[in-house]
């Protein structure tokens, strides 16, 4: 097992990019390798040691034996764990854009908030965020019609707009509330939102499942009531309470299901 600890010592207002510092690439790096490494910042590169104190313990044969601890505020560090396939990354603070984007395996835990595009196009592994995430969590790349296909994202706070755009697999759990257009264009997969949702979940969904346990501000017109179920079993999980099941989005001949907590959404009954 190899533990790599990076402790921030200098703040850069221009974001650092960490897509080269993933377990897959650094598992066999020693301290000297880190000391000579220059990290991309804007359109230039600067020594990583200008910004971090680096500590390494133990050794690793492969990325799965690596644990990286980013011990502090990473609010201006983009692409943490981007494209990683194995190993663990722990962020003891906030994370900037694209944390866990395109990851295929391993795990990332952020003990703070994450900026937009967390878990973009995820293909496997797990991403846990203890705080809030901003827009486009678990979505596709801009213009791309193939989004997150596997893996798990857990957000303990709130999620922003367009959660899981074009999702085609995997699971997303949001404990808090969620802004507009969660699960838009989704074709498969499972989204569970614990809190309230502002508007328009699951627009143009073709298939997949969205569960909303809180109050929904406004439902889209393309969803038809299929029935009201008590303690339904959805996606292999037993939910408690009454749920209204909708089918949609009929605008695109969709066969997805949207479940709303009946108690919290009495106006829709």
């Amino acid at each position: 097992m190899k533990t790599i600890t990076l402790t921030p010592k200098k703040f850069s207002s221009i974001a650092l990019e960490f897509d080269e510092l993933i377990p897959d690439k650094v598992y066999d790096w020693n301290k000297e390798d880190f000391e000579k490494y220059e990290v991309p910042i804007g359109n230039s590169r600067f020594p990583l040691t200008d910004y971090f104190d680096i500590e390494i313990e133990g050794s690793a044969e492969g990325p799965e034996e690596v644990k990286m601890i980013l011990d502090g505020d990473m609010g201006r560090v983009k692409y943490i764990g981007c494209k990683m396939s194995a190993g663990d990354i722990l962020v003891n603070g906030d994370a900037d854009l694209q944390v866990g984007a395109e990851m295929t395996g391993g795990s990332i835990k952020v003990n703070g908030n994450a900026e937009s595009y967390a878990g973009r196009e995820m293909k496997g592994g797990s991403l846990e965020i203890m705080g809030n995430v901003r827009e486009y969590c678990g979505t596709s790349y801009i213009g791309e019609w193939r989004g997150m296909s596997d893996g798990i994202i857990k957000v303990h706070g709130n999620a922003g707009k367009q959660l899981a755009d074009c999702m085609s697999g995997g699971e997303i759990y949001v404990d808090g509330g969620c802004d507009i257009l969660a699960g838009i264009h989704m074709t498969k997969g499972y989204i569970e939102i614990g809190g309230d949702v502002t508007r328009w979940p699951a627009g143009q969904m073709k298939n997949g499942t969205v569960v909303i346990k809180g109050k929904l501000g406004r439902l889209l017109e393309g969803f038809e009531v299929e029935g009201i179920y008590k303690n339904p079993e959805i996606h292999g999980k037993q939910l408690t309470g009454k749920y209204i099941k909708y089918k949609g989005d009929i605008g695109v001949n969709g066969k997805g299901s949207l479940w709303l907590n009946a108690e919290k959404n009495r106006d829709l009954l």
Binding site: S140, Y141, I142, G143
Partner: protein, 572 residues
């Protein structure tokens, strides 16, 4: 600057040099037979030497590309490379940025590329993009097939005024030749319709594709333009369309070629693979390559390029807008449509050609069948209709398929392609392979001849010093081996040297120098009086229907710096 490329193995089909070991001498941007003792010697002993490539049909500049780049940011991230001391950053795969287009063609050893579809209204934009593409000379073809003025003249049977209109519009758009896309079909699209076959009239005009194509070929020969009429025939991509294609080829065969031109053909049928399908629907579709190849083998008035499917995810873009709508109905992917006022329409949609899919495989196999069934390599040109059937950067891969029947068999046996390749086409029975001379023909000599370039596509004395040298020793290398296919692809995609007008622009597969591309255009002489009359005649209609003023329509000279003007003497 003088150079001497020493001891290369030279393939130059135009001058009947077939793998001879010889020196290529360069002086002042031209090929010469003697240089002074100051000439810089470049040792290319035993390496493959050819003239720089000439592409007869590619979409590289203009509004379609721009819409594509805006519309497919997910394509832009494929192929990202940081800037270097000589080059700007590269982006994109099927729709690369303008500089990337130049670098990639240059690295493959190409020197001249035809931008295949320029609507006159967007010609300014096209020339602006050409200014941003380095290292290749570009000849834009102007679209005429669905232009209202053209339809009007055809309806009246007024070929003299049509000739004056074409000659005037080539000057206005700084175009090199006549392009015709789905004649009458793109006009019908304005009414939400398409035409089927060459005898289906466009709504309102009551003019058919046959009439438009015949008129444009006749006008092309009246003017004596260096290139023939360049046609994308009706019914692209529809099963059973090979019959339309045969009718198209046959409908112009009696038209006499202008004696002053150097080419043999009177019509160039582009991306023929898309027009060579049998069957009645995609369920029972099969290959129509055999009758088409047979027709081309027996007739000399037609040449073609293939539009080979490369089995990639790409972007289709064409002025055949109704076809793009059909494609949208099939795939459901994001679709863009553009109306070009009185001139044409255009559409754009991503397309995923996969070896696992039966239809993509059928298209792939039909393309290769055309290459292998058309006996004379001077009549067929290697293209992918970039980016429609695949990006141009895949040319080396296509060459590796053409040079090795073992590789093709391997693909069919290993299930790299669907079983339709063997069940619905004759590809499995074709064991012809191209040699280096054939490759040089279909990528250099033939396209240069078809386009009417006397100074390009060969290494004879007086030709432009556009030379490509590849890091491969043809005498010691067996390209027919399946295992060597990746080597062919690799070597041809990074030229050892690409020389453009006597300047080394690529060295060891890297861009060594960036030079501006030249705009190649045809200037017809001898029609000035009629042109004036035609302009006066059409101005009321122009002012009524166009959204821009005529003063802003014309491509002014500063849009085409630097340029090469091909003076055409129409009175001959």
């Amino acid at each position: 600057m003088e150079y001497i490329l020493k001891n290369g193995i030279v393939y130059d089909p135009t001058n009947k040099v077939n793998g001879d070991k010889k020196d290529v001498m360069i002086k002042d941007g031209k090929i010469v037979d003697e240089v002074s003792s100051d000439a810089k010697v470049i040792d290319v002993t035993d390496k493959l030497v050819m003239a720089a490539g000439v592409d007869v049909h590619s979409h590289i500049a203009g509004p379609k590309l721009c819409v594509g780049r805006l519309y497919r940011p997910e394509d832009e991230r494929r192929g990202v490379k940081p800037k270097t001391a000589t080059t700007r950053a590269e982006t994109g795969f099927s729709i690369p940025s303008c500089p990337t287009t130049g670098y990639r063609y240059s690295r493959m050893g190409y020197g001249t590329v035809t931008e295949a579809a320029v609507p006159p209204l967007e010609a300014k934009h096209t020339h602006e993009e050409i200014m941003a593409i380095p290292n290749i000379d570009i000849s834009p073809l102007t679209l005429f097939g669905n232009n209202w003025f053209v339809l009007q003249y055809v309806k009246e049977g007024n070929l003299d005024d049509l000739a004056a209109f074409v000659s005037s519009w080539l000057k206005i758009t700084k175009g090199y030749g006549i392009k015709c896309v789905n004649p009458c079909g793109s006009e019908a699209w304005g009414w939400g319709m398409n035409v089927h076959g060459i005898d289906d009239p466009a709504p309102y005009w009551d003019v058919t594709g046959r009439q438009v194509m015949r008129a444009l070929v006749q006008v092309n020969e009246m003017l004596g333009l260096p290139h023939s009429m360049h046609v994308h025939t009706n019914d692209l991509g529809h099963p059973g369309n090979y019959e339309t294609t045969l009718k198209t080829m046959d409908c112009v065969k009696d038209i006499k070629k202008n004696p002053s031109v150097s080419r043999d053909q009177i019509m160039h049928c582009t991306h023929l693979q898309f027009h060579a399908y049998g069957g009645t629907s995609w369920r029972d579709a099969n290959s129509g390559a055999e009758p088409i190849a047979d027709y081309i083998n027996k007739h000399d008035h037609i040449t073609c390029d293939v539009g080979q499917v490369t089995l990639d995810e790409t972007t289709t873009m064409t002025a055949d807008a109704p076809m793009e709508y059909d494609l949208y109905k099939l795939s459901g992917l994001k679709w863009a449509n553009k109306d070009i006022e009185l001139e044409t329409a255009s559409g754009l949609i991503p397309c995923i050609y996969s070896g696992k899919a039966p239809v993509s495989t059928l298209q792939w196999a039909i393309g290769l069948e055309l290459f292998l069934l058309i006996k004379d390599p001077w009549k067929v040109v290697l293209t992918t209709d970039s980016p429609n059937a695949g990006p141009f950067l895949r040319y080396p891969r296509i060459i590796s398929w053409l040079m090795s029947s073992d590789r093709r068999t391997e693909m069919m046996e290993n299930k790299e392609v669907h079983k339709w390749a063997t069940k619905r086409t004759s590809l499995g029975t074709l064991d012809r392979v191209y040699d280096w001379n054939d490759i040089a023909t279909v990528t250099r000599s033939a396209p240069a001849k078809i386009l009417g370039f006397k100074e390009r596509g060969h290494l004879g004395v007086g030709a432009n010093a556009d030379v490509a040298v590849y890091d491969l020793e043809p005498e010691k290398f067996d390209p027919t081996k399946a295992a060597n296919a990746p080597v062919v692809e690799d070597v041809l995609s990074r030229a050892l040297y690409t020389i453009k007008d006597g300047q080394i622009v690529v060295k060891d597969g890297k861009i060594a120098k960036v030079v501006p591309s030249r705009h190649l255009w045809s200037n017809v002489q001898g029609f000035e009086k009629q042109e004036k009359k035609v302009l006066n005649d059409i101005m009321p209609m122009f002012n009524k229907y166009y959204t821009i003023k005529f003063e802003n329509y014309k491509v002014h000279d500063h849009y085409i710096e630097p340029s090469i003007e091909y003076k055409v003497n129409a009175s001959k």
